[in-house]
């Protein structure tokens, strides 16, 4: 009878020891799979979070650099000279208290340079990009704006605000989920002379999609050229958009989204458009970090800009789930250690229970290596059955484990946040994102790792338990039995 036949008969005909090992391995395997799947689940969740907050990069003009450039230009001009110097306008103002100087920047001086933004947009991995103009105050020609009746409007510009977008769907207000379309559609790159107005403004002026409204330069409302924009959509907000300064010109309801070129026309700009923000959307969130590196290597005048990645929210969320990754890793290591001890004890029990059988086989001239081979074979038969069963139960067990670990991480993060509240300076507002669930996948790769891991533990445990008997000669074993 060969070792396989012997092992099979032992497994089937001595069910108690087989069942004991079966359940031990089943539990070990499930813990292993749960730990490994949770580790992967944490990464998946992290990616989803990135997607949820909009995986992309924002470019803005660096204010410090803007001031430095202006200082440089002003240093070159002659003392007391007025005029426009490379986009910096210097004006002398005579008052009753004496002479003062006003310095302002025109659009060409402070805008993002389209040629440089296009270089970044060309980086592989950037799927779409958007340019957004500065909020531009223009005079409403043929419609009324929303005003607060209790506020004196004499100090206000009496304007509405225009925000031009290359692709409105990528505007920060839309990406955040605060602005959404109630009627009509958003503005796309192909559009010209179109706008999307607030539902309040539409209601007040009885406007609907398809109507046109007119604007002109607020500095000369009587004579300036009038520009009409067709209403292609009406938007609603979750919360009022924050005005950039006080006054009804800037209030949320008076903000009108237009195509990218419209604000400069309506305000009568002579120095081109003022592009304030550029947003670059990442196609594959898993390549976020690699794309960031590639962007930073693009040859543009970087001193002029600030590159802002997902504004700190992701860092916080990622940090939580990195913790989860390490917790999952600890779980796997602890399970491995505990399993080794448990399996060793199980096999010591096996060996003790089978001393007589080992003695008989030795007396029949069976080499020790063959006897241990049979025991190992039995262990593998039982372990393989247990591991296969664990594969079917693992998805549910992994889901429970991962969800539990995520909940613990989120709870821990919340507690930490309460402790740190008001004590720790943060570069960004805390994320409002909440984890609603965790998805785990027990992949064939994980199953393979699990099988190898458990098999290794079994081999080590059988080997360790076997040494207790290996050094004895058959006579000692028979003496023990008697």
């Amino acid at each position: 009878m060969n070792s396989f036949q012997m092992a099979w008969r032992s497994v089937i005909r001595k069910p108690i020891k087989s069942i004991l090992l079966f359940f031990v391995v089943l539990i070990i395997s499930m813990f292993f799979l749960s730990g490994m799947a949770s580790r992967n689940a944490s990464i998946a969740t992290q990616d989803k979070t990135k997607q949820a907050v909009g995986a992309g990069f924002l470019m803005e003009v660096n204010e410090e650099n803007k001031r430095d450039r202006a200082d440089e230009i002003l240093a070159k001009k002659t003392e007391g000279e007025e005029g426009n110097f490379d986009g910096v306008t210097v004006k002398k103002i005579e008052t009753e208290y004496g002479t003062s100087w006003s310095v302002s920047y025109d659009n060409s001086f402070q805008t993002l340079l389209i040629s440089e933004m296009e270089k970044i947009a060309a980086v592989s991995g950037i799927s779409e990009y958007n340019l957004t103009t500065a909020v531009t105050a223009v005079n409403p020609v043929d419609f009324s704006r929303i005003e607060d009746d209790d506020v004196d409007q004499s100090s206000d510009l009496l304007c509405v605000s225009l925000i031009g977008n290359k692709d409105m769907a990528l505007d920060a207000n839309v990406l955040s989920g605060n602005v959404s379309i109630k009627y009509g559609r958003m503005i796309t790159e192909e559009d010209a002379n179109v706008c999307v107005i607030s539902e309040e403004l539409a209601e007040k002026n009885n406007l609907s999609v398809g109507n046109s409204i007119q604007f002109n330069d607020r500095h000369d409302v009587e004579n300036a050229a009038v520009f009409a924009a067709e209403i292609v959509g009406i938007y609603k907000v979750q919360q009022k958009m924050t005005p950039i300064m006080s006054g009804d010109t800037w209030r949320s309801e008076n903000i009108i989204f237009t195509d990218l070129g419209f604000p400069e026309k309506a305000e009568g700009s002579t120095s081109g458009a003022l592009y304030e923000k550029a947003y670059f959307k990442v196609a594959d969130v898993n390549q976020y970090d690699e794309i960031k590196k590639e962007i930073q290597e693009v040859d543009i005048g970087w001193e002029r800009y600030d590159l802002i990645d997902n504004n700190g929210n992701i860092d916080k969320m990622s940090k939580n789930f990195n913790d989860l990754e390490s917790v999952s890793q600890i779980l796997v290591v602890v399970v491995a250690g505990a399993s080794l001890i448990i399996l060793f004890l199980v096999f010591v029990f096996w060996m003790k229970e089978r001393v007589q059988e080992i003695g008989i086989l030795l007396a029949l001239g069976t080499p020790k290596i063959k006897i241990f081979g049979q025991i190992l074979l039995e262990a593998f038969m039982i372990a393989t059955a247990a591991i296969f069963l664990s594969f079917t139960a693992a998805p549910a067990a992994s889901q429970i484990t991962a969800s539990y670990l995520v909940q613990q991480q989120v709870r821990q993060a919340d507690e930490q946040s309460v402790i740190e509240d008001g004590k720790v300076a943060k570069s960004a507002e805390d994320s409002e994102e909440t984890v609603t669930g965790v998805s785990v996948a027990v992949t064939p790769e994980l199953m393979l790792y699990d099988w190898f891991g458990v098999a290794l533990l079994v081999v080590i445990s059988v080997g360790a338990a076997g040494t207790l008997i290996a050094h004895k000669n058959p006579k000692d074993i028979f003496s023990e039995i008697s």
């Binding site: 001595k14 008989i360 007396a363 029949l364 001239g365 006579k475 039995i481």
Partner: protein
């Protein structure tokens, strides 16, 4: 002469210096039935263990067909030269009668089981379901399954009633005389000892050989 013991000494490792067997020399032949007798603790089982290759002598040699059994290894000796029968049968508890016999060697288990009078309906039963006498007969059948020339038995009738013991003794005698094996049996039973062709007495670590048992 199939088995020869040459100047063998043995002492337990735990009892340094105290020799259980002292300079023993002895020869065993095929077709003969030997019994080893002596008081408890005299070293009978130890002597049998040395013959079986279950342990090694401190000094001296055991030769099988003129060759030191340690040369090819004790495992080889146990597998090819000798077969063993124990007082407590030592059958494997999760195997059937037939499977236990098959463990002993390549001979057909059915023939051997018939030879030792185990009925056909018991062949497929778990061996632990058989009576003590039947189990000992299965153990003998297992010993006969190999081509070993020597059959060693340690108190084979110790757990059996008189009638069954008589049957086992007969079986062992036939094994020696009809099958041509060298059968060496350790026993306390005077009756069994008296059946032997040669009786070996171990006393105070020394050995004596007789053809008849005296008081």
């Amino acid at each position: 002469m199939v088995l020869e013991v040459k100047n063998v000494n043995y002492a337990y490792k735990s009892q340094k210096g105290k020799e259980i067997l002292k300079n023993i020399s002895m020869q065993f032949e095929e077709k003969k039935f030997y019994t080893i007798v002596g008081a408890s603790g005299a070293g009978k089982t130890t002597f049998l263990s040395l013959l079986a290759g279950l342990d090694m002598p401190v000094r001296g040699k055991i030769l099988y067909d003129g060759e030191d059994i340690q040369e090819k290894g004790l495992n080889y000796h146990r597998k090819h030269h000798v077969s063993l029968v124990f007082q407590n049968y030592n059958l494997i508890d999760y195997l059937t009668t037939e499977e236990n016999v098959r463990l002993g060697g390549t001979k057909k288990p059915q023939d051997l089981l018939e030879k030792v009078n185990i009925t056909r309906e018991d062949w497929k039963r778990n061996v632990l379901q058989l009576s003590g006498g039947q189990q000992q007969r299965v153990a003998i059948a297992r010993a006969l399954a190999s081509n070993a020339k020597v059959l060693l038995a340690d108190e084979p009738t110790g757990n059996l009633d008189e009638t069954t013991a008589g049957e086992i003794i007969e079986l062992l005698k036939r094994t020696a005389h009809e099958l041509g094996k060298c059968v060496i049996v350790v026993t306390h039973s005077k009756y069994l000892a008296a059946q032997a062709d040669e009786i070996i007495m171990i006393k105070d670590g020394c050995i004596g050989s007789f053809t008849e048992l005296s008081d």
